[in-house]
Symmetry: C2
Subunit: 508 residues, 2 copies
Amino acid sequence: MTHTTPRPGAPSSPDSVRPLRIDSPTGAGVPEWDVEADVVVVGYGIAGACAAIEAARTGAQVVILERAGGWGGAAALAGGFIYMGGGTALQRALGFDDDVENMKAFLTAAMGPGADRAKLDAYCEGSVAHYDWLVDAGVRFKPSFFGEPGWEPPADDGLMYTGGENAAPFTSVAAAAPRGHVPQMSAKKAGEQSAGLMLMTPLSERIAELGVRSEYDVTTRRLVVSADDDGDRVVGVIGTRFGKELTVRARRGVVLAAGSFTYNDAMMRAHVPLLAGRPGSAVEQHDGRAIRMGQAVGADLMHMDAAEVAIHCDPQMMVRGILVNGRGQRFVTEDTYPGRIGQEMALHQGNEAYLVLDERAYEEAGSTVSATPFLRFRPKWVGETVAEVESEAGLPEGSLQATVELYNRHAARGEDPMFGKNAQWLRPLEGNIAVIDLRGRTGGFALGGLRTDPDSRVLHVDGDPVPGLFAAGRCTSGLAAWGYASGASLGDGSFFGRRAGISAAAAS
Amino acid sequence: MTHTTPRPGAPSSPDSVRPLRIDSPTGAGVPEWDVEADVVVVGYGIAGACAAIEAARTGAQVVILERAGGWGGAAALAGGFIYMGGGTALQRALGFDDDVENMKAFLTAAMGPGADRAKLDAYCEGSVAHYDWLVDAGVRFKPSFFGEPGWEPPADDGLMYTGGENAAPFTSVAAAAPRGHVPQMSAKKAGEQSAGLMLMTPLSERIAELGVRSEYDVTTRRLVVSADDDGDRVVGVIGTRFGKELTVRARRGVVLAAGSFTYNDAMMRAHVPLLAGRPGSAVEQHDGRAIRMGQAVGADLMHMDAAEVAIHCDPQMMVRGILVNGRGQRFVTEDTYPGRIGQEMALHQGNEAYLVLDERAYEEAGSTVSATPFLRFRPKWVGETVAEVESEAGLPEGSLQATVELYNRHAARGEDPMFGKNAQWLRPLEGNIAVIDLRGRTGGFALGGLRTDPDSRVLHVDGDPVPGLFAAGRCTSGLAAWGYASGASLGDGSFFGRRAGISAAAAS
């Protein structure tokens, strides 16, 4: 149902993200609104859910428009980590010291260079209260700590190191504290049924209780703006459901919370070419449309090249060996956050890496507990000497030998002056040597997006907020400018999602 | 002089880049135009100059608005290289074989990953004709080749390798051909008076002859758009000159050619944080305003993280030694294009590098001819052994020793299996060793910007051209998605500048 004759300047293509410009939301020639609410939330993942709850709690009438057939988004499929610290109740219960300044110091180093100071400060300062808010909303965290290398806890432990906090170089900038808070889930199965579901389930219950209207199968296509003294004001959205247009008025504000551009190949090639064609930890709805809808009203972008990158290998294996690039050189400390290894490999080493283990390391790793045993790949090359596997793997003659010789010499003294690997994991590699081929074994999701302020207002390229437009989650640039930590995405999505809901409900 | 009462939705801040929306360029309530032309070119650097010439040659009435007090832009201060090939008259006169496919193969590898295939193809296919066009316009190239390592020829030679075409890994993807064409200049003084002046001078003469009107000291602040069936149509610009507003109507099109965002610190922190605060080869007018003016009408961006990076060291020195990172590891072949060394160092090695030379290499380099002898820094550390300088420079114990041992062993055989350095430059480092500290010695300019098509039409985030808006030069994303070659910026600026002028003059 098309309610209006397109004005001159209106888009002709139904796939256009150009806004519909109207004179006023109630004037002549404007859409007949199919749905009206105070706050319209686009996307029912973690950011949208938190926005909806906070907006509804102020008494505002809220509607969520979700493209899929049900709630959840990428969050419900995720490992479920929420990055929080500064001394949360869970950290304290488990005996870990942390404070706001310590958390800021870590995140400044780990999310940078170029991290948004104001958002990072707000996030750290509000983190303890954010944990309490999630618990109050019904998210359960079991007070137990998983302390082994891994992508996630194999069982239902609630806390873990998820950003390399206990590895070089971060141990020299902040006291190590685990900040990966993971909702309790008993029947976990990595990659299929993960703890993200236990984050989204209670939030969806709160949303239902609050009387929020949820509209599924709605693809939001463009914004509706009216002229305002401060510039164009966002007053609604136009979506489609099964090919029919749906016009939705937002009396106070629209919250964009529709995810990343990871599945938009053209955008990936334009902004993150090194990761184009290798999506990970995203859903197909992450086509960047919300970002483009924002751009079409002059919203600014930030850090569009940033990306989370997972390396597909069990950290229990990596930590016990050495990782080398295509020239047989080490390039990262093997006991850091595996996502950091993935970023270094994919973005700085031409997506080429090899894991070198001796027999003892390989066997020890195999006997450990892991949530991701399917990432324990078999060696591609094995030999009795380093020279033998170096040659078989096609590494430059002498390169891996020099690397292992230097590593072993330092490791025998419990030192790693090259990368600062913890002494716990240092031991000379001896006897039979195995090399696991990790070339191309990375994937990830885009971290860049709309530029927002700490109140989740979308900023125009002029620097001022776009009136009526708010955003959070992966359609925005959040905490990470380059680096990453597991839980930072659900973390900034939930934290700034809440702020988006509060700001939108307060807009007039 | 403000001619109009701001409409609702118009910007209140004089610094705003928001467009002025009008109903039609000649209707009621629109500006009294101070200046009218068919084509309005914003910026009188290389892209603007070429656009103006081509537009004027079609018979269109053209005006150039330039922010500085005279023509030239960054181009007039640049080394002057224009990257051209495929068998230009100059290449052929000097006996170098090249063809279009060979040039495409090189640029695809050297400008990527993520290079714009359509623009790259058009550029290579039109390169021979582009050379002839420049010569016809009065740009002179001396038929002599400078074959030594360097940033530019010390004298007035016209051709040079400027992108690592004769170094690994590019020698394995395309036959080496020099493509850096530099206008002849006798009184060259690097960093002060360079050949870019001899590129801009004849072009400015052609522009004057063609009757193009040039308005200096005009800062173009925002676009004027009117509603059109295809969306907002750009019909003019509003600028200021000494605080007074200047309204300029463009009957056919506006060409944005106002340079990069290198001097906009906020944009650099948002897009190229690793290079923020270290501008190079740009002028202060490069504040990204043209990019933001485009964004404000929904124009898309590409490769905003891309950057040219110069390393401040004489290539005659680098090629004779080895470059290592903060862990004493080599990271690039030392005989490649020095700008590639700069990119690898600043963007992939934490901006930390050291040049290691022996006494013979240091002295040999000192006796060579160079256009940049002021970049021959003295060693910070010297010693009788590698171990000694390794310790003094604070590199991990054994790291540089292992690197030199491996390099020397291969070099003695005339091989470099690590990086493929040409045998000509391979010789074991022996005797007294010197280390030059290159930490932080990089600077550069941003390469990202507005997304354009091969006809230099600015593309909306919808993918369609923004009617009436064209762009070229460093306010656009040109050839380089990541890598670079000297001359690529004046190259795509001149080539796509011409196309912008032709497209704008043909617009209706």
